[in-house]
Amino acid sequence: MKVLVAVKRVVDSNVSVRVRPDGKGIGLENVKMAMNPFDEIAVEEAVRLREAGVATEVIVVSAGVAQSQETLRTALAMGADRAILIETSEELQPLAVAKLLRALVDKEQPQLVILGKQAIDDDSNQTGQMLAALAGFPQATFASKVIVVDGKATVSREVDGGTETLSLLLPAVVTTDLRLNEPRYVTLPNIMKAKKKPLDKIKPEDLGVDIRPRLKTLKFAEPIKRSGGVIVPDVKTLVEMLKTKARVL
């Protein structure tokens, strides 16, 4: 069974991003980039499935700029077998990425596609569901547990107020939530090994996919900053403030 995992190169979660003074973009020059945290969980889950003998091959794919190769190499160092970069410097929105992935799904015929539930840059939370729609696959989003047996995936998913378990016929799409697993650290020997693993590069045109953005961003702005608060001298004052000034007690 082949497993396809999609990963995105995003701004590292510890970096504080700023809007450019003209409000037309975000200052991303010389900013530390990393694999989207939810995608790390997706790679980890796929690698564990292969280590357990359930999956035979883990293919990791990314769509984006040439530097996304670094992200793919990280995934290879975590244990993925080979990588595909769909290289473009055009802006890619979730629907376009889903269409690109769908074209790859047609080509590679994976039984399971695992994606992070959401990228921490655009916070869209769409690509997995969209891919499932376009490929005609069932979906289990926000997964906290995945068991694959006999052509079926039993997936526990995080829903508001609890957990829900679904049984999906493969091929299927799963998106990961935080509790699914704890991704491994990449070791130096594995980083060296990853350099020798195959990484193919293709273009969106090769897949015959229209990647035109549907949403135009008119403006980026920083949210209204909270006005600086006050340091209160003691608990008594705090309770008094919460009662009379904030009126929350």
Binding site: S16, F38, N125, Q129, T165, L169, L215, T217, G229, V248
Partner: protein, 318 residues
């Protein structure tokens, strides 16, 4: 210009309408067109009746079938597709349910989804937070149908009573046969749920251990009828499990009152809670970044201050 008619996908439990639907209808009202509400479920007449009473709703559509009982995305989306082209806008709440179903619908319609909007600027222009709320993007859609999820904390709910909309039945699409509901475990909480709580008491590394976390924060949370949260540092240190985590990669919350105890205020934590109405920070380091977003800061030893705070609250129930 085409007629503006919005469809709101109701979140419900077949018997009643969930509150998030009321916030979503509020967002749809900003389009200034007619509003229809879809109730897709099983034996969901009561939920449809409740939807018909909501102020501002002009029609309720009820799709009833066993295959819609569990809210499976495949079946719900196939049902909506039968009517989707009648609408200029389709809204759902950005809850686990809405986030699961709506992008699947958008892709079937070959349109973008506009996720988690916090404002409607025009019929095609919306504001939405990106980078965990550190940046607000104003986006314009040129798609024929705008498919939108709504951050419910950004819109005041419409009144649940006062309307009298007619209910029209529509067909439930056939079962996809590829996805099956197995079971649902509702977390037994003697406290409110983190994402919908009005008050949250959250703890960080400063608490030192899981035992201290319980000892210090539980009595305080009891008094405030609060949900319990944690910083990533507290989760990574094993004080609590990671479903407590508030932050960029955890839960995004916006309660009326957020009490941060022993939390220094890393960027990724602030991103998850800075839209809270009132923030209280208790920390021994006066330079901790948490104080830059706190309305009220208390500098000192949390092991003295928290019990004192809890004790004084007995006189002032929330």
């Amino acid at each position: 210009m085409t007629k503006l008619v919005s469809l709101v996908i109701a979140e419900h439990n077949n018997a009643s309408i969930k509150a998030a639907t009321l916030n979503t209808i509020a967002a749809a009202q900003a389009i200034r067109g007619e509003i229809h509400v879809l109730v897709a479920g099983h034996n969901a007449q009561d939920a449809a009746d409740a939807a018909a009473k909501i102020a501002g709703v002009s029609k309720v559509l009820l799709a009833d079938g066993l295959q819609l009982k569990a809210g499976l995305a495949e079946n719900v989306v196939a049902t909506i597709l039968q009517i989707a082209y009648d609408y200029s806008h389709i809204f759902s709440p950005a809850t686990a349910y809405g986030k699961n179903v709506t992008p699947r619908l958008a892709a079937m319609l070959d349109v973008a989804q506009i996720s988690e909007i916090t404002a409607v600027n025009d019929t095609d222009t919306f504001e939405r937070p990106i980078y965990a709320g550190n940046i607000i993007a104003t986006v314009q859609s040129d798609d024929a149908i705008k498919v939108i999820t709504v951050r419910t904390t950004a819109f005041d709910p419409v009144a649940a009573e006062g309307g009298g909309a007619p209910i029209e039945k529509i067909d439930a699409a056939a079962d996809s046969g590829t996805s099956k509901f197995v079971t649902r475990e509702v977390t037994k909480l003697d406290r409110p749920e983190l994402t919908s709580a009005k008050v949250i008491v959250s703890g960080g590394r400063g608490l030192g251990s899981g035992e201290n976390y319980k000892q210090m924060l539980e009595p305080l949370a009891d008094k405030l009828n609060a949900a319990l949260g944690a910083s990533r540092a507290a989760v990574d240190s094993g004080f609590v499990s990671n479903d407590y985590q508030v932050g960029q990669t955890g839960k995004i919350v916006a309660p009326q009152l957020y009490v941060a105890v022993g939390i220094s205020g890393a960027i990724q934590h602030l991103a998850g809670m800075k839209d809270s109405k009132i923030i209280v920070a208790i920390n021994q380091d006066p330079d901790a970044p948490i104080f830059s977003v706190a309305d009220f800061g208390l500098v000192g030893d949390l092991f003295n201050l928290v019990p004192e705070f809890t004790a004084q609250l007995s006189k002032h129930a929330v």
